[in-house]
């Protein structure tokens, strides 16, 4: 890593922090297709992975990239891809495939203005719902969202760890401004936990890649290691073969969602600041949380009881409904038309007033705009 200083502070860009975090987490395979504003990630990894015996390949499109990532993950490597909105849309079918077949992989989406080709070089938080629901059909997914370069490094490692622990695709959503901003990162982080893939301990004839114990995450054998099994995107039985039987499908679905929903304490990370006495609570994520934090400080200086909540795990969305017991107003700040606003309204359920401060013109929401909303 060019910006890296061993064992101390480094100045690096958000996209470089993704690459550094991925390598620290044990990345063995990276496939992608060029797209702005994610390109620095592949620039670094195309240089670094071959040096470490890992694989970098530039595929013919984003569909092929995520497909190759899934294939490599089945080969036993920690695998990832990176893209932006248009490419992220192309990946959705195979993200759903990875979710249904429970194959670990990490997808980085450095968002840009959208819809369509949008504004390739400007920030947007428009893919929040696409990250949650882009693939067809109900499916579990984990989405992480950093607001600084340092958090980017940390959450990238966390993305791989959660992906391996829960056998699920994990999406790292990034803001263009964080991806291209240079900040200080301490490297390596003290006591970084790296989760290895859980491998079967039973002989091949006793291995069920989709064992249907409650909320379990069955170990995943790598191809070529003597466990010959089948992977299909069709609904499958515990051996991985297609089934249409409700008595086989229902236990599988229960486990598929249960493995995430019964482990929210491990998966969901949400920071709260000054909410104990807050009458107004700001909810913001990514780069927008930095504006919100600035606005909160200015408001506190004026003597107003303002607090904030910053979800670093965006999906599953944190259970923040308890803040409505105390706060009279919740303001959700986003660079989109209110994609999380609706989620907050659903959780708060009328117990507090919920407002949005939104921009989708490629400019950041400023602290001043948030202060104006406080004055309403």
């Amino acid at each position: 890593m060019k910006a890296r200083v061993s064992g101390g502070a480094a100045l690096m860009q958000g996209n470089e922090a993704v690459a550094a975090g991925a390598l620290a987490a044990g990345l063995g395979f990276f496939a992608n297709y060029p797209i702005t504003p994610a390109n620095e990630i592949s620039r670094v990894l195309s240089r670094e992975l071959p040096l470490r015996g890992g694989v970098f390949i530039q595929m013919e499109d984003e569909i092929a990239s995520i497909a190759a990532v899934i294939g490599a993950s089945l080969g036993g490597l920690k695998a990832a891809t990176a893209t932006s909105g248009p490419g992220f849309s192309l990946m959705q079918e195979n993200i759903g495939y990875a979710s249904a077949t429970e194959i670990p992989c990490v997808i980085v989406d450095v968002q840009r203005g959208g819809p369509s080709t949008g504004m390739p070089t400007r920030p947007s938080q428009g893919d929040v719902m696409q990250a949650r629901w882009g693939a067809h059909g109900d499916h579990p997914i984990i989405v992480l969202y950093p607001s600084s370069v340092s958090e980017t490094y940390e959450l990238t490692i966390r993305a791989f760890n959660l992906s391996e622990r829960y056998r699920t695709p994990v999406i790292l959503l990034m803001d263009e401004v964080v991806a291209h901003m240079r900040e200080r990162v301490m490297l390596p982080l003290p006591e970084v936990e790296v989760v290895p893939r859980s491998k079967p301990k039973v002989p091949p004839e006793m291995y069920f890649p989709y064992e249907d114990g409650d909320n379990d995450v069955p170990p995943l054998a790598s191809f070529g290691e003597g466990y010959r099994y089948n992977i299909t995107g069709l609904f499958h039985d515990r051996l991985g073969f297609p089934t249409l039987r409700p008595d086989e499908i229902n236990p599988w679905l229960k486990r598929l969602f249960g493995k995430i929903e019964t482990n929210l304490e491990d998966i969901v990370w949400c920071e709260q600041e000054l909410i104990e006495d807050a009458e107004v609570v700001l909810v913001a994520y990514g780069a927008t949380a930095r504006s919100a934090r600035h606005a909160m400080k200015l408001a506190r200086d004026r003597g107003e009881a303002v607090g904030m909540i910053k979800p670093l795990t965006l999906w599953p969305f944190p259970h923040i409904e308890s803040i409505a017991e105390r706060a009279r107003r919740i303001i959700v700040v986003e660079m989109n038309r209110g994609q999380i606003l609706g989620e907050v309204e659903r959780l708060v359920h009328g117990k507090a007033e919920v407002l949005g401060v939104n921009r989708m013109d490629g400019e950041m929401v400023t602290p001043l705009e948030i202060l104006h909303a406080l004055e309403i």
Binding site: L51, A67, A72
Partner: protein, 270 residues
Amino acid sequence: MDAIDERKYLRLNRFPTIWCPGCGIGIVLGAIIRAVARLGLDKDEVAMVSGIGCSSRMVGYVDFNTIHATHGRALAFATGLKLARPEMRVIVVMGDGDALAIGGNHFIQAARRNIDLTAIVINNSIYGMTGGQYAPTTPRGATATTAPYGNLEPPFDIPALAASAGAPFVARSTVYHAIELDRFIERGLRKKGFSVIEVLSDCPVFYGALNEMGSAVDMLRWYRDNTISVREAGKGEGKLVRGVLVDRDLPEYTEGYQRLVESLRGKGEG
């Protein structure tokens, strides 16, 4: 030649297959297994990757490491697997629509990249599983469910496409020419690089019925009478040419990548 016990390579508890009576895909399955057996490959080191469609259901019936991937993407899944496990033999089974319509870009890119995969394209000239729609391999003028007035489009010449995209081994056979097919698949598996074997295969239920080609046996006879070996190619005007059409040595991708990694060894981690 020693007798081969095909059952050793099958997941017999998954039978019967979903294929219609008279379908040619089972003949291709047998040919692949006999080729694997003749090469003496260990089942653990063989992977079979497929996409979506009738022929792609083959992976469920073979006792290898198997991936039933998404429609058109089998080659891209296989590319990732091969790079993660270069020691594995990766066989990719696709239908004509899977390989050349929705997966057409992956097909030419894999050929250009020359990655060591054995791509078997089972060409029945139609989309069978979805009910007989016209494909990029349906002959001009043929009838399909979605071409009730005759197909306006010309078909791909799969071997010519594969060859011009850079594949080092390209062959074509049919399910009528079963012994030849065994041999071509075996040669494709032996070849280091991207090998393409197109297999013309009958779909009596849709293509055959819609085009009044008779029974499955009649369709096999059609393959016998309307194709010609490349050795006699000059003698049969208008006939489809069978044979090993390309066999050349070109740099293979996974070997190239491994050489790159070797050459960088000791250069340190940046």
